[in-house]
Symmetry: C2
Subunit: 317 residues, 2 copies
């Protein structure tokens, strides 16, 4: 009889964990996904999908594995992912270690900074090439694969982990902010992000600074950003939207004629670091946690999913 | 009475020359454009619009002025122009002087070349940032301006320059290949270029090598190229189209799922160098030539137009 694994959560973290487990075990596991919300209504679906791994050695390796995955996805000719270049203007000079994973990295000269600068904060600058991955398209791609591999998806809210009884041999927790209630982890907190999607096909480079970003997807740009810690409000704030548009238009004047496509809000599952580890639950069922990715879920997802699959292996072997 | 100026040709060279003259003289000139074909049916309309100035000191300055013009056009929020980055893979290492006008120029390291290379010819490589300008949108933008400034456009084929009689004080010749018959210049020759426009929004970088290019416009990519000297054939050649698509798909595998938008053929007005100079015509009418831009017409147009305006000034002052 195949091992029964339940994955809680159907954002990019849950869906990719399910897929990595299936790929690691072939037919020997039966994966069930239980989630309150599925794509396009998950937190992941709001993400801009700019690949920017977090700080730290572990995150860097997750980022490296995720980038390799995205390159394969791109080379298959799928929509919703691509290589993009752009500018990161800084008020304090920063050069995080994950830039090693990027291409065409250049520290801008003083004269280049002067030419590009649009605000007093633009004192330093980097140019580099990264990737974007549109969560909605990619989750759909992975979901098709996990369904073909025999997974079941149940849309249902779990209020208490005991509801699962003894139905599963392994629990994989990818509930993000849901872990606050479900696993009593108060260190995971919402970091509210509001964005504006606009159509402006002539802008081909991303542009970020301390306060604003213009990022790139297949058919739109994503303008941000807000970072409201401990704010659970999912409604669109008109003032924030206006500020986001105004700030980005200063950075990229040609945005002034962009057409607004949509407004969105998402709650980043913020934590000082990702929780990716094994524990043994009440009734002796092993639980693998994979949550707390903040704004880096898309950038780290595949490396984390592979590590989840390894942890499942360590339990079952 | 205002000075009467006729501009022959309504491609990007003719239209921009007309505009530069008007801007140099304000209301003191009356500009008439006479052209057999107008946009979107000119040679310019087939061009991909990648900014890549030609070799030589004069061309470099025309390129510089044109790039400044394009930056202003972009900052106004117009469609049909943008900053783009990409790769130029080479079989022999080249570093033309016009790269000084580009941004973010990087000679790729051996390991980068190895990662990007898709053919044995990809031995060296450059990454850089340039611009694109979509001729059809831009000609429309300039045409509106010259009409507002009081220009007249007459669509009519001129077989012989004598047809103009003594109606004009200055003739500006922007007829491209038309100069072969109209001004007996056999040094201007057609260089046939066939392209395929495809939709593939996830490709955000241009990619060129000795034989192929994938270039970028607002809502499509332009795949090329053919360079058939002295070929006047304006029909689409199926074999060339297949070869263009196949070659570019090898360079960029994700193009395999691109959707074909259109096939086009244009005859580049090839000449060893641009003819931009003044001569005195039969009946003492000054003629200013501005033709023979080969594949660089979009890249050089505004610098040339400004020089035309200067030459008109030298005649009229």
């Amino acid at each position: 009889m195949p091992t029964k694994i339940v994955v809680l959560g159907a954002g990019i973290i849950g869906i990719s964990s399910a897929l990595a487990i299936q790929e690691a075990f072939d037919k020997d596991v039966q994966v069930t996904i239980i989630a309150e919300n599925v794509s396009p209504n998950t937190t992941s679906d709001v993400a801009a999908g700019l690949i920017e791994p977090a700080e730290g050695k572990r995150a860097k390796e997750w980022g490296r594995l995720t980038i390799n995955r995205i390159k394969e996805y791109i080379n298959e000719g799928n929509l919703g992912a691509g290589e993009i270049s752009g500018y990161w203007m800084q008020s304090k000079q920063e050069h995080p270690e994950w830039l090693d994973l990027m291409k065409n990295v250049r520290v801008l000269s003083n004269s280049e900074v002067t030419e590009i600068a649009k605000r007093p904060q633009h004192k330093f600058g980097l140019f580099y090439t990264t990737w974007y991955l549109e969560p909605t398209r990619y989750i759909d791609y992975c979901t098709k694969k996990i369904m073909e591999n025999g997974a079941k998806i149940i849309q249902r809210k779990i209020e208490n982990i005991d509801e699962l009884g003894n139905d599963f041999d392994v629990i994989v927790n990818c509930t993000g902010l849901g872990s606050r209630v479900l696993f009593n982890d108060e260190t995971i907190r919402p970091c509210r992000g509001q964005i504006v999607r606009v159509s402006c096909p002539q802008v081909r480079h991303f542009f970020m600074d301390d306060d604003y970003y213009t990022l790139i997807n297949d058919n739109c740009l994503i303008l941000g950003r807000t970072k409201d810690m401990d704010c659970w409000d999912l409604t669109i704030d008109k003032k924030s939207a206006d500020k986001i548009i105004e700030g980005n238009c200063i950075n990229i004047p040609s945005l002034s004629n962009a057409k607004i496509v949509s407004h969105n809000v998402g709650l980043r599952p913020w934590r000082t670091s990702v929780k990716l580890e094994k524990e043994i639950g009440k009734n002796n069922t092993p639980i693998i946690h994979n949550y707390g990715h903040g704004g880096n879920g898309i950038s780290l997802h595949w490396g984390c999913a592979l590590e989840v699959a390894q942890l499942v292996k360590s339990i079952l072997v």
